[in-house]
């Protein structure tokens, strides 16, 4: 019987991270931001070296429910700090939208070991379908979003079929080809708006309330983006729950088995075709939802936002955060969205920054910031 570690370690850690995030987001000065990034990086390394990080992880895995609840409270509280700073809310919302797409990508890249560079294309398919349905036919967001998801899922299935015969690099090549084909098609069709994209995408309306309009309650002005931020958080919550359950189920186990050894997987009755296609479809559904959220958030969608670069960026996020670990993927995504926004002056070097991050991760910590852990099964009695 292992001793349960105290909840206190996890509690302190969560509070510290919360404070760190709020401070970082609130700072406007670039030099100061840079200094903070370095400080946080050093602190994280120290955390790992001193062994405190292990205690934190044990504390989290022994008290998952309470600490998840605490984290959820912190996440819900975060936008409250920035009602006077819509720009920060905008970044946070964007980061959360990307999180939905990357936890879907993680099913393919992390769990199944299929490095898919086309997640940007599925993101775009979801965005375009939802935006076009809303724009041309006046379909409500609450119907066009699932439609975008289904369209992305369908194309995920289509792309999955030719990849079944391939593995590793060859599979990635197929996904790159798909990313470029869909990008070029959307660019050259007339009905997608071509290179001009689609403008004036409507905001979702819930019970007569337009999500995204500014509201003043008792002298406090709540920016519209705050409402959208909370809506995205709700979607992210659902996405996390689904991803968590898929991961800790026979689906996730089968994906991992295929990643580790295809031949022995088949000799134990797994159907590679079925499992891989499931991974592609589930991953694309997430991307489609993220795309629809994005299109209605920004109000504008063009091919630039579904290019190969977007897919590449999403793969970077998964690798940085930790493959096959949902929490890790969230961290990776937040870092790669927020840090470049904070260092706007170096915007020209953005791609260089992504490349550097990826190479240094693969060199120094290939398992990612938060590596995956064996699944925890509710054993009737621990032996």
């Amino acid at each position: 019987m292992k001793d349960k570690s105290s909840i206190l370690t996890g509690f302190i850690f969560a509070c510290a991270v919360f404070a760190a995030v709020i401070i970082f987001m609130a700072i406007d000065n670039m030099a100061f931001s840079l200094a903070l990034i370095l400080f946080y990086a050093l602190a994280s390394i120290l955390l790992v070296k001193t062994g405190f990080w292990k205690k934190v992880r044990n504390s989290i895995s022994d008290n998952p429910k309470k600490l998840c609840l605490l984290t959820a409270c912190f996440v819900l509280a975060t936008p409250l700090f920035f009602f006077n700073n819509p720009y920060v809310l905008h970044i946070l919302t964007l980061a959360c939208i990307y999180c939905v797409a990357t936890i879907g990508l993680n099913i393919q890249v992390g769990s199944t070991g299929m490095v898919n560079f086309a997640q940007g294309a599925f993101f775009g398919i979801g965005a375009y379908v939802s935006a076009l349905l809303g724009g041309h036919f006046g379909v409500s967001f609450w119907i066009s979003l699932p439609a975008g998801m289904l369209a992305a899922g369908f194309f995920g299935l289509l792309m999955g079929l030719p990849t079944l015969k391939t593995r590793e690099y060859h599979l990635s090549l197929v996904t790159i080809a798909f990313a470029y084909i869909s990008f070029l098609l959307v660019m050259n069709f007339d009905w997608t708006g071509g290179p001009d994209g689609i403008a004036d995408i409507s905001k979702p309306v819930l019970f007569g309330f337009k999500i995204g309009q500014t509201v003043t309650v008792g002298g406090v002005t709540i920016p519209g983006v705050a409402f959208y931020c909370y809506m995205v958080l709700a979607f992210l919550g659902i996405a996390l729950l689904v991803a968590h359950r898929l991961h800790n189920s026979w689906y996730g186990m089968a994906w991992n088995a295929i990643r580790d050894d295809e031949i022995s997987s088949r000799c134990y009755g797994l159907s590679l075709r079925k499992s891989k296609l499931e991974a592609f479809v589930f991953g694309s559904l997430f991307a489609g939802a993220a795309g629809a959220l994005y299109a209605h958030f920004i109000g504008f969608m063009s091919t630039e936002n579904m290019s190969f670069q977007i897919g590449l960026l999403m793969v970077c996020m998964v690798i940085l955060g930790g493959m096959d670990n949902i929490a890790g993927v969230l961290v990776g995504t937040l870092l790669l969205i927020v840090i470049p926004e904070k260092l706007r002056a170096f915007d020209d070097y953005r791609m260089l920054f992504y490349g550097l991050v990826l190479i240094s991760m693969l060199l120094f910590r290939p398992q990612g910031i938060i590596p995956s852990k064996p699944r925890f099964f509710d054993l009737k009695k621990r032996v």
């Binding site: 991992n256 088995a257 050894d261 000799c267 009755g269 099964f377 054993l379 032996v383």
Partner: protein, 267 residues
């Protein structure tokens, strides 16, 4: 042992099974019959075609010629997935476990073909998934605990970190959890010391008495294992079956001696 059980039904039957790689005949017209409850030892020098034989039975290779019949169903042309679902389960000479997964995860995947919660339960009735895992995990740890209690108490270690012997134990346990009708063991005692080998023999015998209808084919170089557990021995040399019978019979067969010691057969 089941040598007295003459009326046992045949489980697996290969007729004139052949495999050619380019011009090389890896297996040439091999007839093998495995009955229910029987342990067949498959021996022969390196390169005799033993593992090739397993690869054909499990659908990894499609035979160039010949037939494989598993209680009335032809296995030729079926995928490994289908064959596994018919109850043919194997272990691998080089231990193909899922290295980045834990001991328990590997064992649980052995039960993958059993009834399990589907997508609806996974997304909307998650408690059922948890219960299912808990129940199967208990069984899995019991099976692996028979080999070594260290494996069942350290169940969340990654199998990639385990020693060779422990990996074999996990692999055999995983195979048992798949509830095979025909179990194919590829050199299970390789890398084990004599006491571990004895333990393995005991375990195979235990399996036999626990699953009386299960057929076993065992590739092994360690003759103490073969003589200890095999009801029947089949000897391959250069892809051809050169002898078949009880261990005592084949031990004195001059062709067999020649195959192992080299040189011409005197018979």
């Amino acid at each position: 042992m089941n040598t007295h059980n003459i009326a046992a039904k045949p489980l697996l039957q290969t007729t004139e099974l052949s495999m050619e790689f380019g011009g090389l005949k890896a297996l040439n017209s091999v007839d093998v019959t495995v009955s229910e409850g029987e342990v067949v030892g498959l021996i022969g020098p390196n390169g005799a075609g033993k593992t090739t034989f397993f690869n054909m039975l499990t659908g990894i290779y499609a035979p160039s010629a010949g037939a494989i019949n598993m209680s009335g169903i032809s296995l030729v042309g079926l995928s490994p997935t289908k064959i596994a679902n018919l109850g043919v389960i194997r272990t691998f000479q080089t231990c193909r476990l899922w290295d980045d997964m834990s001991i328990l995860e590997n064992l649980l995947m052995g039960t993958y073909m059993r009834k399990k919660p589907g997508l609806f339960q996974t997304l909307l009735q998650y408690q059922k998934v948890k219960d299912d895992f808990a129940e199967k995990a208990d069984e899995a740890l019991k099976v692996v605990g028979e080999f070594d209690t260290a494996l069942s108490s350290d169940y969340d270690r990654k199998v990639g970190e385990l020693s060779l012997v422990d990996r074999r134990r996990v692999e055999i346990s995983r195979a048992i959890l798949a509830r095979p009708r025909l179990l194919l063991l590829d050199e299970p005692a390789a890398g084990m010391d004599p006491s571990e080998t004895r333990q393995l023999m005991g375990d195979i015998k235990k399996l036999q008495s626990a699953f009386v209808k299960m057929g076993v084919v065992l590739i092994e170089h360690d003759m103490t294992v073969i003589s200890g557990v095999a009801d029947k021995v089949v000897i391959l040399n250069f892809g051809t079956k050169i002898a078949e019978g009880s261990f005592v019979d084949v031990k004195n067969n001059p062709e067999v001696i020649a195959a192992y010691l080299g040189g011409e057969a005197h018979a």
